[in-house]
């Protein structure tokens, strides 16, 4: 039914906006805005527009949002191809339009070449492997003017909610200390950027296997308050020994071991990986840097995203 689809579409758009706000992004203008392109003499419907600061670009990034909610039987190669082709055209035309500046961007100095498609399957038939297969078969045009289009389905969207939940808990745990939990953007080779602590996540970070964070916590030891420096890793890689060792080497490279403890939050369940974790623990104990590692489980969000609600601070 088209009306039911519209209602579900609006409901999903609201949830998508809630997720993006929770990631620390800033919404520009209203949702569901029509932008007229003089060049194409055509109207483009924009679901939402968000910006965030990218420390590696040293500038604000504008992201055009497309939110779609469908039953699994309607999620197919043609839908993904169609949605991504439409996004390519939108990214090419919309940022050049006057209406885009007047209604969404408000002349903010932003690099607008990024699209984010949030595709929610609203029944229980979602098949992640099939979704990846569709992605692999989607043709991407070659263009001189480069664009980046990120696409997230249920698997990724639930993980984003899980990241938000876990991060908020970390913020609460560290609120009495002098260094509240923030995401940590290490300094990269060949860039002049200093490492940065930030409240929000960039798209690249969301799609990374590790998200680093730093904080201090206050612990009571024998009646005395003691502060402890913590490095946090929100870990989305496989829980196998070589992968854990590689993460350790990443922590070394980015100088994140100058703390008392490292808290590693696994997204995947660690139940079947106890022996790898124990072996990794022995490995780090034998290393020069005497840092204590604690392994925890990220908060998993149930497969119905509508049951998840973000509490604004």
């Amino acid at each position: 039914m088209p009306e039911e689809q519209n209602v579900e579409g609006d409901r999903w758009l609201d949830k998508a906006i809630e997720i993006l706000n929770a990631l620390g992004w800033v919404q520009g203008g209203d949702k569901k805005v029509d932008i007229f392109s003089q060049k194409m003499n055509k109207q483009y419907g924009i679901d939402a527009y968000f910006t965030y600061y990218d420390p590696y670009e040293a500038s604000d990034i504008g992201v055009i949002i497309e939110a779609k909610s469908r039953q699994w039987q309607s999620v197919n190669l043609s839908l993904i191809r169609g949605t991504s082709s439409k996004m390519v055209e939108v990214l090419q035309e919309v940022p050049l339009s006057d209406e885009f500046e007047n209604k969404l961007n408000f002349n903010k100095a932003c690099k607008v070449n990024t699209g984010f498609i949030l595709l929610w399957t609203n029944d229980f038939n979602y098949d992640h492997d099939k979704f990846i297969e569709y992605l692999q078969k989607t043709h991407i045009p070659k263009k001189h003017q480069s664009q980046r289009i990120f696409i997230a389905s249920n698997e990724e969207l639930l993980r984003f909610c899980s990241i938000v939940e876990t991060s908020e808990e970390l913020v609460r745990n560290s609120e009495n200390s002098s260094e509240q939990f923030r995401y940590y953007y290490p300094s990269l080779t060949g860039t002049a950027n200093e490492p940065k602590r930030m409240k929000h996540l960039t798209l690249e970070y969301l799609y990374s296997k590790y998200i680093f964070g730093k904080m201090q916590i206050i612990e009571s030891v024998g009646g005395t308050s003691v502060s402890k420096k913590i490095t946090v890793v929100l870990y989305n890689d496989s829980i196998i020994l070589p992968a854990l060792k590689l993460m350790y080497n990443a922590l070394l490279l980015f100088q994140l071991l100058d703390v008392q403890e490292v808290w590693v939050y696994f997204y995947e369940s660690d139940v079947n990986h106890r022996s790898d974790i124990e072996e990794f623990d022995r490995y780090v104990t034998s290393e020069e840097k005497q840092v204590g590692f604690k392994f925890k489980q990220m908060k998993r969000i149930d497969r119905d995203v509508y049951l998840w609600g973000h509490q604004n601070d």
């Binding site: 480069s146 696409i151 992968a243």
Partner: protein
């Protein structure tokens, strides 16, 4: 296996100069990131800022343009009346035994599959020139599969080095030692040596004129020739190759070709060819080498290169290992069918 976490400058270099354009776009597409660009450096710039994990970097490495990322296949016939289950039993009986003290050759595992095929994993030590030591020992492992082909058995392996093939032969000979003739599983090499020089040329003629069902023969890129029983190969010059390609396009029998006749008169025969095949349905072209090596005597098929055709432009793309293995198997079946058919025809 990757151990040291790569810095972003290294990742940038890998994506921008070591990974084919199509592979780099596919790598990130699979992860939900579509890079709409015609420059590898753009993909490299954005994507070097991702903090990827172990399996990502292992996969990235498998997409780089290195010889190791192109697979090959070779095969050996077995001269035996023994059934596949009995062959599995014979191999299993020697599992864990050191078959050669010097190279620590050993059968590590034998598995019988539901489809009747048998998989066998062997291990051995090989000596190679090292970076720190002049000569260092390398532990190698190789898997081979034994399948039924009519009244024959065939060993197939995606060998990485010639030594893998030689060691499989050694294992088969070793386990057959001391067995009664009916139980032996002796290797029977697939070789051009069974044919006279004109027959060797005729064999390649059949290979080139074969109808490759899903593929179209687009070009002959190289022909290796060998004189008599000499071990070294030589190659046809570009002009000679052009003449051969023209003859093939006309559907001519190579043995009637003047260039081929000239070489045949001087005692040369074909020992290998590289052909370029275009897939009939997918935008894919691959360069396939069929080579009869002389030292050791080893028939192999290699994927030398693969390209994806986008907007009429050929972009190098390294195919996933399972896809490479699927195509290699397909080409091996063709080679083996022509080989056994030709043997039947002439003997």
């Amino acid at each position: 296996m990757i151990e040291k976490y790569p810095n972003n400058a290294d990742i940038y270099e890998v994506i921008s100069s070591k990974m084919p354009f199509g592979n780099s776009r596919d790598f990130f597409k699979k992860r939900g990131m579509m890079c709409v660009t015609n420059r590898r450096t753009e993909i490299a710039l954005y994507c070097s800022r991702l903090f990827l994990g172990f399996e990502d970097y292992e996969e990235m490495r498998s997409h780089t343009e290195s010889e190791n990322n192109y697979k090959k296949i070779c095969g050996i016939e077995l001269e035996t009346v023994t059934s596949l289950p009995d062959i599995a039993t014979t191999l299993s009986a020697k599992r864990g035994d050191t078959l050669d003290e010097k190279t620590k050759l050993m059968i590590k595992d034998v598995t019988s599959h539901g489809d009747g095929t048998v998989n066998c994993v062997i291990s051995y030590q090989n000596k190679k020139i090292g970076k720190l030591d002049l000569l260092r020992k390398e532990d190698r492992e190789c898997t081979f599969k034994i399948e039924e082909r009519g009244d024959k058995k065939l060993v197939l392996t995606h060998h990485e080095k010639n030594e893998d093939y030689s060691k499989i032969i050694e294992v088969l000979e070793n386990v057959s030692e001391g067995l009664v003739d009916d139980e032996k599983i002796l290797p029977h090499k697939i070789t051009l040596e069974k044919f006279t020089i004109p027959q060797r040329i005729e064999f390649f003629d059949k290979l080139l004129l074969h109808n490759y069902s899903n593929w179209i023969l687009e070009d002959v890129r190289s022909i290796k020739i060998r004189k008599g029983e000499e071990l070294e190969d030589e190659e046809f010059s570009e002009i000679e190759l052009r003449g051969i390609n023209e003859a093939l396009l006309r559907g001519d029998n190579l043995r009637t070709n003047e260039i081929v006749k000239k070489f045949e008169r001087s005692g040369y025969y074909f020992s290998g060819i590289i052909i370029k095949l275009a897939h009939k349905h997918d935008p894919l072209k691959i360069f396939v080498e069929t080579l009869f090596k002389s030292k050791p005597v080893l028939p192999e098929i290699n994927i030398k290169k693969s390209v994806e055709v986008i907007d009429d432009i050929e972009n190098t793309k390294i195919l996933p290992i399972d896809e490479q293995e699927k195509y290699l198997k397909e080409f091996w079946e063709i080679l083996y069918k022509i080989y056994s058919g030709f043997i039947e025809e002439i003997f």
